[in-house]
C-alpha cells in the first residue's frame, strides 16, 4: 500500500484484496463483547471535515477509536477555517499537533491530493470525499458488501439474501454492477468504477445524458441511458443520490420525470435476478431515486453498508498506520506475551 489513500485508482488488485480481507478480520472484532484493538494506541487521527458529513465522519471516528487511536475532530464550521484560514495553514497546524493521519473531506476536487503532495504535512492522508472527484473508502465498503453477498457462499457464489458470507481472498470477477444516477457530480461513482474494474467486475453506468461526464465512453465500463433493459443482467444495483437542486440547472425537467425514468421502484426491483442486491451510499432521497418499498426491502443493503464502512475504514487506517503485521495476530501475540 502507498502512504496515502487519495484515489481508488491507486489501489492494485492485491492492495484492494488486502484491504477487504483485513476488513473481514476487523468485522470479527465488531462481533466481540469488547470491540476494541490496541493496535493504534498512541497514534493520532485527525478528521478534517470542510463539508458536512455526519455519517462518514462518525464512521472514521468509530474506526479509529476501535483501533485505540486518539481522534481529533476538526470541522470547518466554528473553526478558524470559517474565518478564512487557508488549507495550508490548517494543515501546518495539524502537523504541529502531531497528526499521524489526516482524514479529509473537502468540497474542492483535488484538495486531499494537494494535502498529500504539497509537503505541508508528514502524516498519511485519507480522502474521505473530495468535491466531485473521489471517495475511495466508500468504494471499498461497497466492494466489501458486494463481495459478501455475491461471492460469500462457500462455493464462491451469491448468498441469496441469507446471512452475508465471508468473501476472504475473492474478487468480483464477472459480477455485473449497475450504477444509476448523477454520475457527473458523483465521487462515489468515480471511485467505484476504478475499484470495481480493478476487482474484475463488469460495470454499467445508467443516467440521463446530462448527468454523464464528457469522455465517459473512455471509462472502463458500459453506459446506458435506459435502466429497464439492464436490470435483468444485474447482480448489484447502486442507486446514487440525486439532488433536486440539479433540476434548477436543467439537468432534468422535474423530480417526477427523473423518478419515472431512473428511480428504482418495486416493479423494477422485481425485474432483478433473485440473488441481486440493492445498494445506496446514503443519505437516500426516498421517492426520488428509490421508493420506500425498495429501501425497506430485504434486498437493500444500505444499513449493512454503514456497518461495513467501519470495518473497511479500520482496515485502511490500520494498513496505512499500523505496519505490516496482521492486526489481530499482533494483538493476540501481545496478549500471549502479557500472560
Amino acid at each position: 500500500m502507498k502512504r496515502h489513500l487519495i484515489s481508488a485508482a491507486d489501489l492494485t488488485r492485491d492492495d484492494a484484496l488486502l484491504v477487504l480481507d483485513t476488513a473481514e478480520e476487523m468485522a470479527r472484532v465488531a462481533d466481540r463483547p469488547i470491540k476494541k484493538l490496541p493496535t493504534l494506541r498512541g497514534r493520532t487521527v485527525v478528521n478534517l471535515f470542510f463539508e458536512d458529513s455526519t455519517r462518514t465522519r462518525i464512521s472514521f471516528e468509530a474506526a479509529a477509536k476501535r483501533l485505540s487511536a486518539d481522534v481529533i475532530n476538526f470541522s470547518a464550521k466554528g473553526s478558524s477555517v470559517s474565518k478564512g484560514e487557508s488549507l495550508k495553514d490548517t494543515a501546518l497546524t495539524l502537523e504541529a499537533m502531531g497528526a499521524d493521519a489526516v482524514v479529509i473531506r473537502h468540497h474542492a476536487s483535488g484538495a486531499p491530493h494537494r494535502l498529500a503532495t504539497s509537503g505541508w504535512i508528514g502524516g498519511s492522508v485519507v480522502n474521505a470525499g473530495d468535491g466531485t472527484h473521489e471517495h475511495p473508502t466508500q468504494a471499498l465498503l461497497d466492494a466489501f458488501t458486494m463481495r459478501r453477498h455475491l461471492a460469500g457462499a462457500p462455493d464462491g457464489g451469491p448468498t441469496y439474501h441469507r446471512e452475508p458470507g465471508d468473501g476472504t481472498g475473492r474478487d468480483l470477477a464477472g459480477r455485473r454492477i449497475t450504477i444509476v444516477g448523477d454520475v457527473l457530480h458523483s465521487r462515489v461513482a468515480r471511485s467505484n468504477v476504478h475499484l470495481l474494474n480493478t476487482l474484475g467486475a463488469e460495470i454499467t453506468l445508467v443516467a440521463p445524458p446530462t448527468l454523464l461526464p464528457i469522455g465517459v465512453e473512455t471509462w472502463p465500463c458500459e453506459v446506458s441511458y435506459d435502466l429497464d433493459p439492464i436490470l435483468a443482467k444485474t447482480d448489484a444495483v447502486m442507486m446514487l443520490r440525486v439532488q433536486s437542486e440539479r433540476m434548477n440547472a436543467a439537468f432534468f425537467p422535474t423530480e417526477r420525470e427523473y423518478a419515472r425514468r431512473y428511480g428504482l421502484d418495486g416493479a423494477r426491483m422485481a425485474a432483478l435476478p433473485g440473488h441481486a442486491i440493492v445498494m445506496h451510499p446514503g443519505p437516500m432521497n426516498r421517492g426520488m431515486e428509490i421508493t420506500a418499498e425498495v429501501a425497506d426491502s430485504g434486498r437493500c443493503t444500505v444499513v449493512e453498508q454503514v456497518a461495513n464502512g467501519v470495518s473497511v475504514r479500520m482496515a485502511v487506517l490500520y494498513l496505512l498506520l499500523g505496519g505490516n503485521e496482521p492486526a489481530i495476530t499482533t494483538a493476540r501475540t501481545q496478549e500471549n506475551n502479557d500472560r
Binding site: S86, L87, A108, S118, I214, G215
Partner: protein, 428 residues
C-alpha cells in the same frame, strides 16, 4: 552621442551583419569595419530581432502592486526581449477612463525599460453593460487604440456590435476575451477526458468558439476589425481561418503556454497550471502551432498574469487563474516553433514584433532592422540551453509553469531607442 556597434549578428536569422546604433536610431546595417568611439557588442552566432511587442500583458498597477508593478513588469518585459507591451485594463480601478490610462502610460515612460501602451476597457468597470468613454481614452496622452474587457467577455451581442462600430472613428480595435459566460460558470479546466476523471468543472471549447463565430460575423457585418485574444482550441483556429478566407478584418493571438502545455498537467492538481482559457489537449496544441506557422494566427501574446504566492499555494478551486510569461515567451516560441522547423527567425520577428505592432497601431515598434529606423532591438542566443529558475525573474511574481524545465534560447541584449535595457543577459 552614444554609439553601439552590434558586430556579426544574424539579422532576422540571415547572414551575419554589423548594426550600428547612433543615439536612438539605427545608423547603418551591413559591414561596419570601424566605428570610432562605439561600444562594441560581439554578436557572433546570435540572432538580432526587432524589439518584441506584446499585445497582452497584465501589469497589475494600479491596485495589485503585491503581484506586479509597471516597473517590475517592464523590467520582466525587457529581460524577455520586449520593447513594448500592451497593459490590460483589468486593474483596480479599471482602466476605463482617460485618467487611468494616462497614469499607466506615464508610469511606463518613467520606468524606462519598455514602452507601455495601455489597453482601454470596452465597458465601464468591465461589467459589459455600458460603453466606457472610448473616445476620451483614444484622444488622451496614452492614445489608446486597443480596447478589451479581458478577463471578462463582452458577451452582450449589442454592446459588442456597438463597440466594434464605435472604435472605427479612431482606427481602434476590440480585443475579445472569448468566453460564453453561462457555459463556463464555475469552470476550472478544459472540459474533456481529464476533467471528467478529475471531477473538475469543465470549460468547453464551444464556449470560446461560439463567441468567436458570433464576433467575426459581427465584425463583417459592421465592417470593423476585431482581434481575438488567446485562441486556445483547434475549432477556434478553423473559425478564424474561415473568417480570413472571407477577407474579413480578423486577427488573433496565441499564448506561449497554449503552444506547449496540455490539460494532462492538471492531473497534478497543481494550481500553477490553472489559467484562463484553460490548457487544452495535444490536438489543440498542434493545431495552434500550425495556425501560427501559416499565419492564421497573427501573433504570440503572453497573457502575462502575475499572482502572489498565496493565490497559487492552495487547493485548485481556490487558486487564481493565470501564469507569468514575459521572461520565457521567446524561449517557448523557439522550442515549439523554431526548433521544430515550423517557423524561421524572420517568422518569429513577424509574429512577435511586426504584426502585433500593426494590430496595436504602435509607432516606432515592429519596424524593420534598417538604417533610419528606431533602435528597438533584441539580441538572442539561440544556442543557449537552460533550466528555468524563477528565483532570478525580474517579475514580482513566480507563477511560472516552466520551473525546472529546460528551454532553449536566451535574450542577451535588449535596446529601447538605442539604450540598452538588457546587456550580457542582465538588466541594465
Amino acid at each position: 552621442m552614444t554609439k553601439i556597434l552590434i558586430r556579426g549578428a544574424k539579422v532576422l536569422g540571415g547572414e551575419p551583419q554589423d548594426v550600428l546604433i547612433d543615439s536612438e536610431t539605427i545608423a547603418s546595417v551591413g559591414s561596419v569595419p570601424d566605428a570610432a568611439g562605439a561600444t562594441v557588442v560581439e554578436a557572433e552566432g546570435k540572432i538580432l530581432l526587432p524589439g518584441l511587442v506584446d499585445l497582452h500583458t497584465h501589469l497589475r498597477e494600479p491596485g495589485r502592486e503585491d503581484s506586479e508593478t509597471v516597473l517590475t513588469g517592464t523590467r520582466a518585459a525587457a529581460a524577455g526581449g520586449y520593447t513594448a507591451v500592451h497593459a490590460m485594463a483589468n486593474t483596480f480601478p479599471v482602466a476605463d477612463t482617460a485618467g487611468v490610462v494616462e497614469q499607466v502610460w506615464r508610469l511606463g515612460r518613467e520606468s524606462g525599460y519598455c514602452d507601455v501602451q495601455p489597453v482601454g476597457a470596452v465597458t465601464v468597470g468591465l461589467e459589459g453593460k455600458q460603453l466606457a468613454e472610448l473616445g476620451a481614452m483614444a484622444e488622451s496622452a496614452a492614445a489608446v487604440r486597443v480596447f478589451s474587457d479581458d478577463g471578462k467577455c463582452v458577451d452582450d451581442a449589442v454592446i459588442m456590435r456597438r463597440a466594434l462600430e464605435y472604435v472605427k472613428a479612431f482606427d481602434g480595435v476590440v480585443a475579445q476575451h472569448a468566453q460564453e459566460p453561462r457555459l463556463t460558470e464555475g469552470a476550472q479546466m478544459n472540459e474533456g477526458l481529464v476533467s471528467g476523471e478529475l471531477g473538475l468543472r469543465g470549460w468547453p471549447a464551444v464556449a470560446e468558439e461560439s463567441i468567436i463565430a458570433r464576433d467575426v460575423l459581427l465584425a463583417a457585418h459592421v465592417g470593423s476589425r476585431v482581434h481575438i485574444c488567446h485562441l486556445s482550441t483547434a475549432g477556434s483556429v478553423e473559425l478564424v481561418r474561415w473568417a480570413k478566407s472571407k477577407g474579413w478584418n480578423v486577427t488573433a493571438e496565441v499564448t506561449p503556454h497554449h503552444l506547449l502545455l496540455t490539460d494532462e498537467l492538471v492531473r497534478s492538481y497543481n494550481p500553477v497550471y490553472k489559467v484562463n482559457p484553460p490548457l487544452r489537449t495535444e490536438a489543440d496544441v498542434m493545431a495552434l502551432r500550425e495556425a501560427l506557422a501559416d499565419g492564421t494566427i497573427d501573433c504570440v501574446a503572453t497573457d502575462h498574469a502575475p499572482h502572489p504566492h498565496e493565490d497559487k499555494d492552495c487547493e485548485w478551486a481556490a487558486a487564481a487563474m493565470g501564469m507569468i510569461g514575459l521572461e520565457t515567451a521567446l524561449s517557448v516560441v523557439q522550442h515549439t516553433m523554431v526548433d521544430t522547423g515550423l517557423l524561421d527567425w524572420a517568422g518569429v520577428a513577424d509574429r512577435m514584433s511586426f504584426r502585433p505592432a500593426v494590430i496595436g497601431r504602435l509607432h516606432g515598434h515592429g519596424r524593420p532592422v534598417a538604417a533610419g529606423e528606431p533602435a528597438n532591438l533584441t539580441l538572442v542566443d539561440p544556442q543557449y540551453r537552460g533550466v528555468v529558475n524563477p528565483v532570478g525573474f525580474a517579475s514580482r511574481s513566480r507563477n511560472t509553469p516552466y520551473e525546472g524545465i529546460e528551454l532553449p534560447g536566451r535574450v542577451t541584449a535588449t535596446f529601447l531607442r538605442g539604450k540598452a535595457t538588457v546587456m550580457d543577459g542582465k538588466l541594465a
